[in-house]
């Protein structure tokens, strides 16, 4: 059986930088190959070179794309391959479909070879129907922001599949999607594979590719360090780096067991929680123009413990966080912090209490003033907004940097100069500055690579053991929640459908919805 795609000794460079070097692989019909590695490992650029879209200078001993020599193709010849023979599904349908155009137009754009407009429209509606879109004729006229997450993801897949391409490249196509959407995308990719076409899957997450890949190639710093059948790579990794990636997957790893290689084993000596809980929410409710976003939600977070809230996008997790933080006034119910009434309450009356409550979000960059250096951000937090000059707080600032394992040399850097992991560490340092009793963490690692996520989760574990801070940990990611929580609440349509000790909820789910969620949890250990 000859390969659909055959690459030998591929190198890609940008100016003086070589980002991909000596990469070789083959992709056969009916097969799924996964390229796995961290951001910056060169996996996306490698995939794009199969469409002539790497943007850099490409050299290879062989770059065969469905029989054409990719080294010699003109832009016009590439365009005949793109979308027709090799198609690409990108991460994040919200960004990958033009928000200003109806999704149907994005699909008909790929059909310039069909002469009549009516014919193009019929084909677009047919493919939307094939990927499971209800009422394709109406959906085709809607723009992506008007569609739900699932609809949008289907439209994104439809625009890639409309020409029945033989090879589909899925570039982080499931990253940051909740369980149900991930299952949806994987199911579509599986159907492509089973119809005798080929899938090239690009991901940073070994657990995710485990569900579909036949072969796995692990990339690091532009090179493939290990390649082999998926089952073998997952069960018996040969390369040290593959082991690091595997270890970073939190699914099924007990609490406080380090996920990253750099973190030493932590001494687990936690006092039994006693006294008043750090945070108590009673019967919280909030509706937006008739839609009940949060519906009679009650919980408490004991001191030094973690409550994990897991749910799909739109389930009301973030609204719950905003009610707890006092950023939105609940329609009903109340929140108390360390036994004191916190919300709903006048801001001036609870200002002193705010020190006890910190927040960390998915995208720290958006929560930093871009003109403050790392040091200024911390000085600002330490002085409660009185100054941004590091001078008076130098010892405390370096103490915080040390606590989150950031290089003290970064003190004069601006947030935009930091990496994703460093930014999240800085956000944690800032949240810790007033020594809060409770941290509200809203999807704190969802934008990070699995390997970086592992180091941040380890850091959060260590901080909790050292300081006794309580966490309200919110995520769509079941495996992260399982690893981080003492108690889990499963949220669905604004309600807690199931609450209990982590082991119990994950081991013996009672509610039907929890069971459905758990089927999407990748298990390969």
């Amino acid at each position: 059986m000859s390969a659909l795609i055959s690459v030998q000794d591929l190198s890609i460079g940008f100016a003086s930088d070589t980002v991909v070097q000596g990469v070789s692989f083959e992709l056969h019909a009916g097969q799924c190959l996964a390229l796995v590695g961290e951001s910056g490992s060169g996996k996306s650029v490698t995939a794009r070179s199969l469409l002539g879209l790497s943007g850099g200078s490409v050299a290879a001993k062989r770059l065969s794309v469905l029989g054409s020599d990719g080294r010699k193709l003109s832009d016009r010849q590439w365009r005949a391959i793109r979308g027709r023979q090799v198609a690409m599904v990108l991460q994040d349908a919200l960004m990958s479909l033009d928000p200003l155009r109806p999704v149907g137009r994005e699909i008909t754009d790929a059909l310039p070879h069909l002469r009549s407009r009516a014919e193009r429209r019929r084909r677009a509606e047919a493919i939307l129907g094939e990927v499971g879109m209800d009422d394709p004729a109406r959906r085709a006229k809607q723009r992506s922001p008007e569609l739900s997450g699932g609809m949008r993801q289907r439209a994104l897949i439809a625009q890639a599949l409309v020409n029945d391409p033989l090879v589909v490249i899925a570039d982080e196509a499931t990253t940051a999607l909740d369980a149900q959407l991930t299952a949806l995308v994987l199911e579509q990719l599986r159907a492509i594979k089973e119809s005798g076409r080929a899938v090239l899957m690009i991901s940073h997450d070994l657990a995710q590719v485990a569900q579909l890949a036949d072969r796995i190639a692990v990339m690091r710093a532009g090179r493939i360090v290990e390649t082999g059948p998926a089952a073998r790579v997952l069960s018996d990794p040969q390369h040290e780096y593959t082991r690091t990636l595997l270890r970073a997957v939190p699914s099924g790893v007990p609490r406080f067991t380090p996920l990253s290689v750099t973190e030493r084993h932590l001494p687990v000596e936690r006092a039994e929680p006693s006294g008043t809980p750090a945070l108590v929410a009673t019967n919280l409710g909030k509706s937006f123009s008739g839609h009940q976003a949060v519906d009679s939600v009650s919980f408490d977070v004991p001191r030094g413990q973690t409550l994990g809230i897991v749910g799909e996008s739109g389930s009301g997790k973030t609204t719950t966080a905003r009610l707890v933080l006092g950023l939105q006034r609940p329609d009903s119910g109340s929140v108390s912090l360390l036994g004191e009434h916190f919300a709903p309450r006048r801001e001036s009356a609870r200002r002193a209490l705010r020190q006890g409550l910190g927040a960390i979000y998915q995208n720290p960059l958006g929560s930093f003033d871009p003109r403050y250096t790392a040091g200024a951000l911390l000085a600002d937090a330490l002085s409660r907004g009185r100054t941004r000059r590091v001078a008076g707080y130098r010892a405390q600032v370096s103490g915080l940097l040390e606590q989150v394992e950031l290089d003290p040399g970064l003190i004069d850097q601006y947030p935009s100069q930091l990496s994703g992991g460093q930014r999240q560490r800085l956000a944690i340092a800032r949240a810790l500055a007033p020594q809060p009793a409770v941290l509200v963490l809203d999807e704190p690692v969802s934008a990070l690579d699995v390997s970086i996520q592992a180091t941040i989760l380890d850091l959060l574990d260590r901080i909790q053991l050292e300081t006794g801070t309580s966490y309200l940990f919110i995520s769509h990611d079941l495996s992260v929640i399982e690893h981080m929580s003492d108690t889990v609440a499963v949220m669905h349509r604004g309600r807690f459908v199931e609450t209990g000790p982590t082991a119990k909820v994950f081991g013996d789910p009672q509610h039907q919805y929890t069971r459905r969620l758990l089927t999407a949890l990748p298990r390969f250990r």
Binding site: R82, S96, D98, P99, L100
Partner: protein, 310 residues
């Protein structure tokens, strides 16, 4: 339904604004020291005849209480009766009918040219080298900052006096429109380019543009289908404002190029203190401004439907 409500709100809002403008004019005229009748007839310097003053008094009901005067004033406006220009001795409405089309044609052509230039500049600057980008940026900022009277004078000097390619004064062939339109369009083009470039480069670097190329779109198609819309949005939001700046720019340009139009009429009306004329022009300008605002908002809504954020 949403569109109807929006349109109703727009019309209602416009009526309120026009009413406020009219009220401001009414109060302003009464605040001028001395006899309001004299003020309406061009102030003490105009030496209006006793009969003319008496006619104005009767016309505006100046002997009545203020309340009644105000209602009479509004009533006339409702009937589109703006009175008679005392300087030109013609009904204001008739004069408007003559000058308004001139100015609107001038402003619309300038707006169109500014948009085209801005799009071309913004697209070209994407492919420019570092030095080219800095130079282009400098040119745009200078263009945006240049005052109309200076630009107009320079253009006349270069293209009319020295090269003799284009007439400085309208000779009825349309060639006379070129220089005034350029004078109005260039500063606006500089400003719009600055607005468009950012969103254009963001749009062309975003995943949906990559997705479009992966479907087989050419660079030009991506620019046409995706880049243009995203570039247009911020500039469109400013177009209502831009049009009003064109109207005030027209005051200068029409004077420099000796063209008839709303701007010229306003200038001479103000200089001769022709209150009925000033009232008419102010109300018409406000109305035009609101029509343009509603139009651009309508286009924005079509590009970017309500209920859609980001």
């Amino acid at each position: 339904m949403g569109t109807l409500r929006w349109a109703a709100g727009r019309v209602g809002g416009a009526l309120v604004v026009l009413w406020l403008v009219a009220t401001a004019i009414f109060i302003g005229v009464r605040l001028i020291p001395g006899d309001p009748a004299e003020a309406i007839m061009g102030g003490p310097g105009s030496q209006a005849s006793a009969e003319a003053l008496a006619a104005a008094r009767a016309d505006y009901g100046l002997d009545e209480p203020l309340r009644v005067q105000y209602l009479m004033f509004l009533g006339k406006l409702l009937r589109l009766d703006f009175g008679t220009s005392y300087a030109l001795r013609d009904p204001v409405l008739g004069i408007m009918g003559q000058v308004l089309p001139q100015t609107i044609v001038l402003s619309l052509l300038a707006l169109l040219l500014a948009w085209v230039l801005a799009l071309v500049f913004a697209a070209a600057s994407l492919r420019a080298t570092r030095v080219g980008a800095v130079l282009g940026n400098a040119v745009e900022i200078i263009a945006a900052a240049v005052p109309h009277f200076w630009l107009g004078a320079v253009l006349i000097m270069v293209f009319s006096s020295t090269l003799g390619w284009l007439p400085a004064v309208d000779n009825g062939t349309g060639a006379g429109l070129v220089l005034p339109v350029l004078t109005l369009a260039l500063p606006l083009a500089g400003f719009l380019t600055q607005l468009m470039r950012d969103s254009l480069s963001t749009a062309l670097a975003s995943p949906f543009s990559l997705a479009a190329r992966a479907r087989g779109d050419s660079r030009l198609q991506v620019f046409w289908r995706h880049g243009l819309r995203h570039a247009a949005l911020p500039a469109l939001g400013m177009t209502g404002w831009a049009f009003s700046s064109l109207l005030s720019g027209a005051v200068v340009v029409e004077a420099v190029f000796a063209r008839p139009g709303l701007g010229r009429a306003l200038l001479s009306a103000v200089l001769s203190r022709d209150i009925p004329m000033v009232t008419g022009i102010a109300l018409f300008s406000a109305a035009i401004y609101m029509v343009v605002m509603a139009l651009t908002e309508g286009i924005e809504r079509a590009l970017h439907p309500a209920g859609v954020d980001s």
